[in-house]
Each structure stands twice: as structure tokens, then as C-alpha cells.
Symmetry: C2
Subunit: 178 residues, 2 copies
């Protein structure tokens, strides 16, 4: 069965500081019309930083879920066409104060394709060296260092719940990087 | 450092057929105020259905990314307090026409904690038997069956890009289920 949905109209619903919400009418595969609502996202990068047998993680309060989460460093593109690697380098240094000499691309993921076009490019960063930590004004972060086997255990036991963090681990593991 | 953000005000921005967008003012850990915008989500369930050495997947057109994606069966709670297992049973049967005698909980993930509270509960379903496929009116699905090793290869090589699908695989693998 052909599954494609054809865009008929676009309506801008809300453009805030973070969210860009739009509503579309589309033609379904059976010719009927329906509406689709979605959050337009610029794209993002997440980085798995490895040093010896350790991984660096960040603890952040995530207001949408009212919890602190343990995640790999990540950040949005400054512009929709930003180079993912440049974005990754900037975010790694801003969030954990490290640069890296070796960058290995782990492919991309869609986090929530039902209601947003968010794509996250995943990298592994190795051969770390000191840089300058510099978080945004409204961004508060505790940097954590875990042994890779502890990191794996926390993914297994459900302590780590962040999808981009788990997928970066999976791709790195399957590709033989950790 | 204490990281919590205190909610001060809530404003309802948009309530559509799918999206519920709200804006908050919050007090940051340093006492300053900022705004947070987010998509309120009812929660969801995703199911990794295993039969012998095969996994069942669904191919769907995802309008937000203008692509067909290969994913495990999944669906949103009908109500915010719906029992995850009941939701999983409903979605598995609706999307691939199968019931299961064995359900193994794989924990939960947050898909996009930067701008939504979406939580997805993950299950592995085994001992499958025939049920009745019954998709929503605007939902068109091709059911796919892959060998587990092909599924793993497609996660590794980037053919499979859906975060909930990869995380369900990871938890099942680490927990010894596949």
C-alpha cells in the first residue's frame, strides 16, 4: 500500500521562544482529507563523550517532565542548515567543558515522529581535552562521569530514561565503538 | 547544585486535535525568572512483538518528517490514567492484528524532554496469536516481519531511525529477552 500523505494547506499556529507549532490539511492515501498538527524543530545533535573507560553525562532539570534527567550532552542547531559536527563541537564544549580530537558519526534518530520533525544526529567523541564550559543563561547543569559498565547497567535498570542517550549507546555498541 | 525549576504561572496556548501547547513562567535555580513552552502529552506505549526469531514492525507515513518510518507498534493513552499494559494490548492488536500471552515490561523512556512530557512505556510481547487488525480512520500501516538479526543490522546501519524502536531493542537485549 502506498502510504504518502500530500500537503494541501499550512497554517502557523504559534511561534514562541522555543516552539513553532503548525497545522496542515493533508490528503490521505485513500483520498480523504484530515488535519495534522506538529512542532517544527530545527534539528539537534547529541554527543556520547568517551574518555578511557568513562562516559560524561549531564544532569539537568527538565521542566516538561518536572524531573532531573541524566543525558548525554546535546543541543539544537543555531540555524536549520547548521553543520551537525560544528553544532556537536559547540555543545560538547558548552555543556561539559571538553573538546575532542576524534568524532565518530553514529547516524540520526527521530525522537517523536508522530508530532514533531525533530531529528537528532548522534556522535561519539573521543580523545577529549579541556575546553571552556559555557552554558546558556537559563541552563543549569551538573556534569557526571560514569564507568561505561555503570552507564550500561543504568540503561538496563531504567535509571537512564532519555531516548537519545540510550540510542547513542546502542549505535556505539553495535558499531564496536564502546 | 540544586537544579529544580519552580512553576509560577501556566498559560494555555493551543489545544488542537493532537497537540496541547502550554507556556509557563518558572523560577530558575539562581532565582531569576524565565519562560518554558511545552507540549503536554497523555503518555504512550510501544511494543516489541517477538515470534520465534522474528520481530513485527509497522511502516507508516509520518507527516511531520514527510517520510515513511519503520517502527514497532505504538499508540497513545486514550486517557491520562490508562493502564499501560491495557493500552499496549489494544495497540498491538489494532496495528498488527496480534494478541500476546506473554508481556514483559521494558521500562519507560522520555522521547523529547526538552519540549514535551511524552513518556513511552516499553513492552516485549511474546507467544503471539491472531487477533483483529483495526487501525484508526486516518492511520495507514504496512505490517513487516524481520528476522531479529536483520532488525539489529538495520538499527546498526541506520535504516531504523525511530528512537522508541531502538530503545525497546536495547532494553530487551540488555535484559536478555532477545
Amino acid at each position: 500500500m502506498k502510504l504518502i500523505e500530500k500537503e494541501l494547506t499550512e497554517e502557523k499556529i504559534f511561534k514562541g521562544r522555543l516552539l513553532d507549532v503548525r497545522k496542515y490539511t493533508v490528503e490521505l492515501p485513500d483520498g480523504k482529507h484530515t488535519t495534522r498538527e506538529l512542532v517544527v524543530h530545527p534539528g539537534a545533535v547529541a554527543i556520547l563523550p568517551i574518555e578511557d573507560e568513562n562516559v560524561y553525562l549531564v544532569e539537568q532539570h527538565r521542566f516538561p517532565i518536572r524531573k532531573n534527567l541524566i543525558e548525554i550532552p546535546a543541543g539544537k542547531f543555531d540555524t536549520p542548515n547548521e553543520d551537525p559536527l560544528e553544532c556537536g563541537k559547540r555543545e560538547l564544549e558548552e555543556e561539559i567543558g571538553k573538546k575532542a580530537d576524534e568524532w565518530i558519526y553514529l547516524g540520526y534518530i527521530y525522537t517523536t515522529p508522530g508530532f514533531s520533525n525533530e531529528i537528532i544526529h548522534l556522535y561519539m567523541a573521543k580523545n577529549l581535552k579541556d575546553g571552556t564550559m559555557n552554558t546558556d543563561d537559563d541552563e543549569f547543569i551538573n556534569v557526571k562521569k560514569l564507568k561505561i559498565n555503570e552507564f550500561e547497567e543504568q540503561i538496563k535498570d531504567g535509571t537512564i530514561t532519555d531516548a537519545k542517550t540510550i540510542t547513542a549507546y546502542t549505535r556505539a555498541k553495535l558499531m564496536g565503538g564502546i
